[in-house]
Amino acid sequence: MSLRPFLKAIVALIVTGLLLPVSVFAAGATATPTGPKTVTVGQTFRVTLTLSNAKDVDTIRMNGSFTQDLLEYKGSAPAGVFQNISPGTFFDQAKGIFSFGAFTLSSHANGSAAIAVLTFRAKKAGDAYVQLTTNSRILSAGEDQLAGTGRLNIKVEEGTPKPEQPQVISPIATPGKLEISLQSSSHPDPNLWYANRNVAVEWVVQGKEVDKIYVGFDQAPEGPAETQKDSSNTFFIATEDGVWYAHLKVVFKDRSIETVDLRVQIDTQAPHAIVPIADQTNIIAGNPNVLRFATLDDASGIDHYDIYFNNILVTSTRAIAYSLASLAAGTYDIRVVAFDRAGNTATGNTSVTLLSSEAPITSNTLYWLQDMWPYLLLAALLLVMGLLAWWFWIVGKRRKGKRKK
């Protein structure tokens, strides 16, 4: 029996082992995007970021990139135990990058778990991807468990683009032209956030004979719509804050089917508490000094901050810091109001004192008295002596008067 095949197998195993990425051997956790492999132009779809082999994870940071000319980043939402969005969460459509952070203040993630849902819309046909980069983090009590990240390849196929905005159709039907409109009078703009969980939806279908209409309301971009309706409107209640979709499925007499979806964004919760703070207080006016303020909002995110000095609005800003270097000396009562994208607010206050010069030497009254006591004693003695002299002078004068009498 020849040893050659056996040696070949050994060499192959060693070479394969050397070429495999280090992350495969690491015992840490991995993060991968999962979602549809094929979509059509105009389709809105979700990509779920999933952890594997997680151990007691409390905080995640998913940095990634996507094909910006084929995909449009529509938003992100935390999933699973990660219900709080971290600071520093953002996306840049022009560069095709995103950074999504989330954390949990209660139970932690173990094993396999969904951590976030990213929503994209296919813009153009082609080969697209969503990839997590290795500077992502999977943290447990400050320790990074990240051992590897994944990539999702998506084929975007040609198709009839669905309109993004609700379509306003002509009140007079054009014979032979199919028109379907799905709108919400309570949440008219699908790109805005509303602080209202009661969603009113209306629809118009014309151009073809309708057999049945089904509606649905959930957090999936494309349905299903399973509740039959005979009317042309209905109400839904969103059970929690987030991105919801109203779905309309029209079955025509000719057995053809059309579906329309309407995005509804709801945020009824105020942002987390905000605590503004100055880098320095009781310093000389004109020195570098910065007021810092920020808070988090778990649904729509923070839109802007209004800053008031002594009850006067000085600025509305999206920044989280404001320079105090140009302020004159004095004490300022500062109020910062954080607005989320649905208009919910949280307010915080602080006070800053700016000095005209450095604090002077101070001492309390008792200390002053302590050092002055010899003088006070002398003054008291002189006073007593004066009173005695005056009293003797009066008494002497009276006696003189009596003697004369």
Binding site: G88, L139, Q280, I320, T362, G396
Partner: protein, 258 residues
């Protein structure tokens, strides 16, 4: 009667002169006394390198976990300063001379020895109390002062120092991020001065739970572990509770570094 009045005046005048003479001690800010014989005996024992009171030193030992220190001539131990401390004021009587020799002496790590001016003498040391760690930009430092001291200099200045009749003093001290070294010295109105007492306060960047000088996801992860429990380094507003207010402060300092 006239003679009686005259006696009273004479007696009063003598008593007054005596009273003023009695008040002329080194504790008065209004009289100078350069007589070295009046310097307290503690002078000979006091030095910046000696512990003044063992019971006070024990409190220093507890300071690490309690974030609170009281110092009398003994600096708290801590990490190596990255930011150089401000130059200390030259102590009039402190320090010993360096030895000669063939090899160059090591670089001084504390106050360089300064030749005391002619006629200088020592007064007892003040004490210094402070919190070793803080997130705040100002900390009230305080302590006791010897009865001879008419002023307390903090980092070479009496500005902002309040003296109390109970031989206490305090100062609201602005802090830079990182290590702040404090130099405290008691002085009288003459040439008397105590040793320079030193302490170190670390002002931590708000949000920087692991004190890495950067607020990032690692701090957020550690913060989640402290949520509704207690760890001083996650209690950014130092109110004893780790809650939404601290989360806001962490967010407002996100990605901040120094």
């Amino acid at each position: 009667m006239k003679r009686g009045v005259r006696y009273i005046f004479v007696a009063g005048a003598i008593f007054s002169i005596g009273a003023v003479a009695h008040a002329q001690t080194p504790s008065s800010p209004n009289f100078q006394n350069s007589d070295s014989a009046t310097v307290p005996a503690v002078f000979s024992a006091a030095s910046s390198n000696f512990k003044v009171d063992a019971s006070i030193e024990a409190l220093v030992g507890n300071a690490v976990s309690a974030n609170f220190g009281i110092i009398s001539g003994v600096p708290l131990t801590g990490p190596t300063p990255v930011v150089p401390p401000p130059p200390p004021p030259p102590p009039p009587g402190g320090g010993g001379g360096g030895g000669g020799g063939g090899t160059p002496p090591p670089a001084p790590t504390t106050t360089p020895p300064v030749v005391p001016p002619p006629g200088a003498y020592k007064i007892p040391n003040p004490t210094l109390e402070y919190r070793q760690y803080t997130f705040k930009s100002i900390q009230t430092i305080k302590g006791t002062r010897p009865k001879e001291a008419t002023k307390i200099e903090v980092n070479g200045s009496t500005n902002g120092v309040t003296l109390f009749d109970s031989l206490q003093w305090k100062r609201d001290l602005p802090l830079f991020l990182g290590l702040n070294t404090i130099y405290v010295q008691a002085k009288d109105d003459g040439k008397g001065a105590s040793d320079v007492i030193t302490g170190t306060i670390e002002r931590i960047l708000i949000g920087d739970v692991n004190r890495s000088r950067l607020v990032d996801d690692i701090d957020l992860s550690l913060f989640t572990r402290a949520w509704k429990t207690y760890t001083f380094f996650a209690d950014f507003n130092e109110d004893g509770v780790i809650d939404d207010a601290d989360l806001s402060l962490l967010a407002s300092h996100w990605n901040a570094s120094y």
